[in-house]
């Protein structure tokens, strides 16, 4: 269920790397934990981020969570569709519910993230 072609952060973001462009969103596990997503706050295109920086925030009806950027780079695109349809994060987190695209400055940071298998193991321990 967790896509094999992406890498995962402990804070539940995924990065899907296509050449030097990383597409970032939150995982299926994270969207389930959050419940109905009602608002996603994203950075402006052009923002420079370091791995671990706050990327934005995601809100459900009664909770707000910070999003962290798992890799360093420049924001080159944000998912404008989420402004009107934040529920895409719930319905299709790995597809239409993506959040930002980043021009990754150091691809080795991606390698340091978890694989799909490692992430699934991680979520199983976390939910206990």
């Amino acid at each position: 269920m967790t896509p094999e072609d992406s890498r995962y952060a402990k804070s539940h973001e995924y990065v899907h790397l296509d050449k030097e462009v990383g597409t970032i969103g939150i995982t299926e596990y994270a969207q389930k934990e959050l419940g109905d997503v009602v608002f996603v706050e994203l950075p402006q295109v052009g923002t420079q981020l370091e791995a671990g920086d706050e990327l934005g925030s995601i809100e459900s009806v009664k909770a707000v969570s910070e999003l962290f950027c798992p890799v360093s780079g420049e924001v080159i695109e944000v998912n404008e569709a989420l402004a009107d349809k934040p529920e895409l994060v719930n319905t299709d987190p790995y597809g239409d519910g993506w959040m930002v695209r980043i021009k990754v400055s150091d691809a080795t940071e991606v390698d340091e993230l978890m694989s799909a298998e490692e992430y699934e193991e991680y979520t199983q321990t976390e939910s206990h």
Partner: protein, 498 residues
């Protein structure tokens, strides 16, 4: 007893008789009137330049007095209220609101007085305020009380600003306010707006602050500990004097959130515990009505060293027995609001304090604590008690037993509505997963407490036998569960002509 709700009626769609009242703007009809003014008896002239003149207020209403009275009467019937029954919201002290208070506050000599009248014209108001301060000083065991703040959070901001100013005056305002993880959200928010960073203190296994944990956390950078006494579990921090000593030794202050004063009014006094600052919610302990969210008042009592920083104005008495407003406090934090605080709320509170007298004030705490412990005793076993320390005026259960059947706190709360009760505070304090925080107050007679407990026990049985009934509750309220995600995703925050 509400056993009817275990029958089929409970699964029927919401009561067909519930009146669905449209938004008033939809009742507007051209030419209708809800008011009348006397004829304009001065000549009408062109006074304002055209650039400042408003042509019309588009879409504003045209309705009759009959229409307005029917509308608001019908709306009112969609609310539960303390007048109609127990409203056991934890840490909210939803107690009886005496009607004498309402009558006294409406006395024309009070109600029509103007905030900027000179002192000699408002001696009655000033004497009243002075008496209220004297009463709160005696209740809090502190030497001065400002009556300016108009809500608990406003009092918090006032108190923390005073601490900041006092510390700054002595050379270092410091950086942090310590706040336990069980605290109400206004505490960190107020501290942040007063210019501090927040350091969270973890509660120990009994839900309390540990003196050792505190001692380790109090550095030279800590300005104060903000703590609720008794805490949001209803547990009295029995080491409170030790906390004060730890803080004072490092030059820091002890701030008490007085939201739960109802549990020990007349029994013990914050000042005697070493507390430096406490705000009290007149709309909790002192019976002024919550009015659907306000108004309130949040007077703040302070220890001797903080008196110079009180916000203006204060009420003072001259030797000849006359009173005046004093706004000459050179070291003050400054005004926290225009005019003189929520005077109307203060009239109600003093009326209540006089109605209770010293015996009655003590009896408030005694009966509030008795009522809460009665509920605790009756529901223990049926609901999980996450912390079993002795509690005062409220008791916090969790949904741990019910989650086995996939029924959660929210469901239990909603199901209570079918039994005619407003739910308790839920999912707070945050340190309890699935918290149900019940505060009955002294206003509830035994038969109401019994009815509530029977309802809770019936729901516990339903969770075992018919969990779906609970998960889909409420069934009998004017509306059923709302689509809150829809409200937040595409907010509709005002009526618009279709």
């Amino acid at each position: 007893m509400s056993t009817i709700l275990e029958t089929e009626a409970a699964t029927a769609p919401a009561a067909a008789t519930a009146h669905r009242e449209g938004v008033l703007f939809e009742h507007s009809r051209k030419g209708r009137r809800g008011y009348q003014l006397p004829p304009l008896d001065v000549p009408e002239k062109n006074v304002l330049p055209a650039s400042l003149l408003r042509v019309e207020i588009a879409d504003e209403l045209e309705v009759s007095e009959v229409g307005v009275i029917r509308h608001f009467t019908r709306l009112s019937k969609l609310n539960l209220s303390i007048d109609a029954g127990m409203y056991p919201l934890g840490s909210c002290s939803m107690k009886h609101n005496p009607r004498l208070n309402e009558e006294i506050a409406r006395t024309p000599g009070f109600a029509l007085s103007h905030p900027l009248q000179p002192d000699h014209q408002v001696q009655g108001n000033l004497e009243l305020l002075w008496n209220l301060e004297q009463a709160l000083k005696e209740i809090m065991g502190l030497p001065r009380v400002t009556l300016q703040p108009v809500a608990g959070a406003h009092g918090e901001l006032t108190g923390i600003l005073m601490i900041h100013k006092a510390l700054a005056k002595s050379g270092n305002a410091r950086k942090y306010i310590l706040i336990p993880d069980s605290a109400h959200g206004t505490n960190p928010a107020s501290a942040a707006f007063a210019g501090y960073e927040i350091k969270e203190l973890k509660s120990n296994s009994r839900g309390m602050v540990d003196a050792d944990t505190l001692a380790a956390a109090v550095t030279e950078d800590v300005a104060a500990l903000m703590i609720t006494v008794p805490n949001t579990l209803g547990v009295f921090e029995s080491e409170i004097q030790k906390f004060a000593a730890i803080l004072h030794a490092k030059g820091a202050y002890l701030y008490c959130d007085g939201a739960n004063l109802n549990s020990f009014v007349g029994i013990a006094r914050p000042g005697d515990m070493g507390i430096d600052v406490i705000h009290s919610n007149l709309h909790k302990t002192f019976s002024t009505p919550h009015g659907g969210g306000g108004p309130g008042a949040g007077p703040v009592g302070v220890s001797e060293s903080l008196i110079p920083y009180l916000p203006p104005p204060t009420v003072e008495r001259r030797e000849d027995g006359t009173f005046y407003l004093d706004d000459q406090h050179p070291d003050s934090i400054g005004r926290v609001r225009a005019f003189n605080g929520n005077f109307g709320v203060m009239v109600r509170a003093l009326t209540y304090i006089r109605s209770m007298g010293p015996q009655g004030l003590r009896r408030i705490a005694q009966l509030a604590v008795l009522n809460a412990n009665y509920i605790r005793a009756r529901l223990k076993g049926a609901y999980h008690l996450p912390y079993d320390a002795a509690t005062l005026h409220e008791v916090v259960f969790s949904d741990k037993i019910q989650t086995a059947k996939d029924v959660h706190t929210l469901d239990i709360a909603k199901r209570l509505m079918d039994y005619g009760f407003h739910p308790p505070t839920i999912y707070f304090p945050l340190i309890v997963s699935g918290a149900l925080m019940i505060e009955p107050t002294e206003s509830e007679p035994k038969e109401e407490l019994d009815a509530f407990c029977e309802a809770m026990l019936a729901i516990a049985r339903e969770c075992e036998e018919r969990p779906e009934l609970v998960r889909t509750a409420p069934h009998t309220t004017p509306v059923r569960r709302l689509d809150e995600a829809r409200a937040a995703r595409q907010p509709i925050l005002r009526w618009k002509r279709p």
